[in-house]
């Protein structure tokens, strides 16, 4: 991937530092059957993380605690429990400003409590890895899976990836560091999974040896000065942008926001290479498609199987990156579709909105089925919804 003097050397734990590409594509992998929380532990074990800060909230608590074990074992440089999520994200920011590779996890109400930090991370170009194990955020209290949370962070400017399975989860965590830390990207990344559906579910995952690790983060590739008094300029600005009512300060703010958005777009080329594209297509020449992300795709795949048994063929489009959103890819993949179903685990239907905004003739999009508040979405429910809509459309066509 890049020439790096660390490659081939050994870290304090005796892990061999290898080229990321070797770790991702060439190193032999062994089969494990483990929960999503354990997947976090195994990914972070190989990620050369300098600092991790945790706070308990279901369903991410187990993963966050296991990262603490890694710290005791010496795989993670520094670790502690912060006082609340707003503070934790501030502590992560501090560590990242100080040049550390930083990892943390959060869920649901914790994510919203921490929210103020995310656009700040983006504006400060801090490539922090945030693992979001999403769950319900509204009252009455719910600790159940619900993806509304992702819809709420969509426009913070972070890279947002959504993993479907334990395997995705492992790979996205490691690859996410690499993409987020590219000098032309250098942004925080949220690797999202559906809480419980992935975090607490035992699933198959192929993992390379624990004797291998990613190269450490090189903070001096940061497009912004690292806050360590090791590099000039020590004086960041001649005049502060803040609260100065003049055109230049507005323009500076605006162009910086555009630049961080552009940096997010620039992540495409790295992500396409590492994830094999921003979307994954299956039978997209069919007229009926399911397009979604995360567990909704997994359920969609099962629904496709059930429908195939009845002779109804449907295709699947899995969206891997919510930001940057794969507009062109989705347009291409759906160009033959007559009906596009967007199953979602939230009440808002943010994914359907994104897709509708991306494609022509968006009356083709059927928003749903939706479940929320932790409700499960059995494949049978998706099948029923697809059949209902198909019957309705047929009826409408007949009447016309």
């Amino acid at each position: 991937m890049e020439s790096n003097s660390q490659i081939g050397t050994y870290n304090k734990k005796g892990q061999k530092i290898v080229d990321p590409d070797y770790l991702f594509y060439e190193a032999p992998r062994e089969h494990f059957f483990m929960t999503g929380s354990e997947v976090v532990r195994e990914a972070i074990r190989r990620a050369s993380v300098d600092v991790s800060i945790s706070y308990p909230i279901t369903p991410q608590s187990e993963a966050a605690a296991m990262v603490g074990d890694l710290w005791v074992e010496g795989y993670v440089g520094e670790y502690f429990r912060g006082e609340n999520e707003f503070a934790v994200m501030g502590e992560c920011a501090g560590a990242s400003f100080g040049g550390a590779r930083v990892f943390t996890t959060t869920s649901g109400p914790g994510t919203l409590r921490a929210y103020e930090n995310f656009p700040m991370w983006v504006g400060s170009r801090l490539p922090i890895m945030l693992n979001m194990m999403v769950r319900g955020v509204n009252s009455p209290l719910s600790i159940q899976p619900d993806t509304l949370e992702i819809g709420l962070i969509i426009d913070t400017g972070m890279l947002i990836w959504h993993a479907e399975s334990a395997q995705d989860f492992f790979d996205y965590l490691l690859k996410g560091f690499i993409v987020a830390e590219q000098p032309d990207v250098h942004l925080p990344i949220a690797v999202c999974i559906d809480g419980f559906f992935v975090s607490h579910t035992k699933d198959d995952v192929l993992i390379p040896s624990a004797d291998l690790a990613l190269p450490t983060y090189n903070p001096y590739k940061n497009p912004m000065p690292v806050m360590d008094m090791e590099v000039p300029p020590v004086r960041m600005m001649r005049d502060p942008f803040v609260m100065k009512s003049n055109y230049i300060s507005y323009a500076t703010q605006a162009s910086w926001q555009q630049e961080t958005r552009a940096a997010c777009e620039r992540s495409r080329k790295h992500t396409i290479r590492l994830l094999g594209g921003l979307i994954e297509e299956e039978n997209t020449d069919e007229e009926i498609l399911i397009v979604s992300s995360g567990t909704a795709v997994a359920q969609g795949r099962e629904a496709a199987r059930l429908l195939a048994e009845e002779g109804i063929k449907i295709g699947i489009v899995k969206i891997k990156t919510i930001r940057p959103f794969p507009y062109e890819e989705v347009r291409q993949a759906t160009k033959n579709a007559k009906i596009i179903f967007v199953p979602e685990f939230n009440v808002a239907g943010w994914m359907a909105r994104e897709i509708k905004a991306a494609i022509p003739d968006n009356q083709r999009v059927v928003e749903g089925p939706h479940v929320a508040g932790g409700m499960t979405m059995p494949p049978e429910v998706i099948v029923e919804e697809i059949k209902r809509v198909l019957a309705q459309r047929k009826e409408t066509t007949t009447h016309v």
Binding site: D50, V51, I53, G77, E78, F80, G82, E83, N84, F86, A87, V88, M89, G90, E91, C92, A93, G94, A95, S96, F97, G98, G99, A100, V102, E116, N117, M120, S124, P225, M227, D228, M229, E230, V231, P232, P233, V234, R235, M236, M237, R238, D239, P240, V242, M243, K244
Partner: protein
Amino acid sequence: MSKEKIKINTEFYDIMPVEYQELVEEGTYGKEGRGWKDVGESKELIEEHSLCAGCPESIAFRYVLACLPNPEDTIMVGSTGCTSLVFPHVAVHNIHSLFGNQNAVASGLKRALSYRFPDKVKDVVVLAGDGATVDIGLDMTLQSWFRQEKFTTICFDNELYANTGGQSSGLMQKGFVAKMAPAGKKFEKVNLPEIAKVSGCHYVAKMTVSKPNRVEKAIRQAILIAREIGPTYIQLYTPCILEIGKQMMEGLQEMRDSEGPNKRFEFEEYISEEAKAYLKTVAPKKKKRKEISA
């Protein structure tokens, strides 16, 4: 960072701002025994800023910057408020992230720097207003002390929210009529120095900035103790002359009026036993500061 690192390539010298050139030529990075007496005869590590004419906070800023024992390896963390208008003009690396999370940011920063530079002294200093320290950020202020994070917290206490136009704050005096306390503030000025003592701070000082010698000694002790022992806290009265209805030349008098016996800002200092013992070990070596930080 040594002064070497900020030296300007001769080819670019003429296009660099004059303030930067002065900083390279006359800045006090690495100077032994630096203190407020350097001002007027060297380039200060703070540049022209946009605070009000006569603002005592500006005086405090000058003293703090002049008295940092190790500015070449000091990183400051600020918060939102009047102080955030000054930090862009400060010649040490400094972070503004959000309002109230300054002690959280400093915790992460200090730990990252200790991990990355195990053999180097990297001082972290938080400098924020009273709203940031005591109201919105109190949780993180206290928790960083509970966790014994090794950095210094300096609170510029002007007893109100100055930058937003004079609203009441937790450090405002009881009975003071201000925006958002239209019938007078209902509860006592929060006694953060006392809270700091029981929350694990090893050095606590409360004063005005009317006496630069005293400020210098406090800053120096607080930073040295934080480096070796644990958290330290300094509360400085920096009245907002604008919001308390004073003329721009009256700030100094206001401070002097507030520091007499039994007044709100009567000088108070607390040093933990552990910190006292430590100070004894560094006192004779004061002139060999370089060795300590090496």
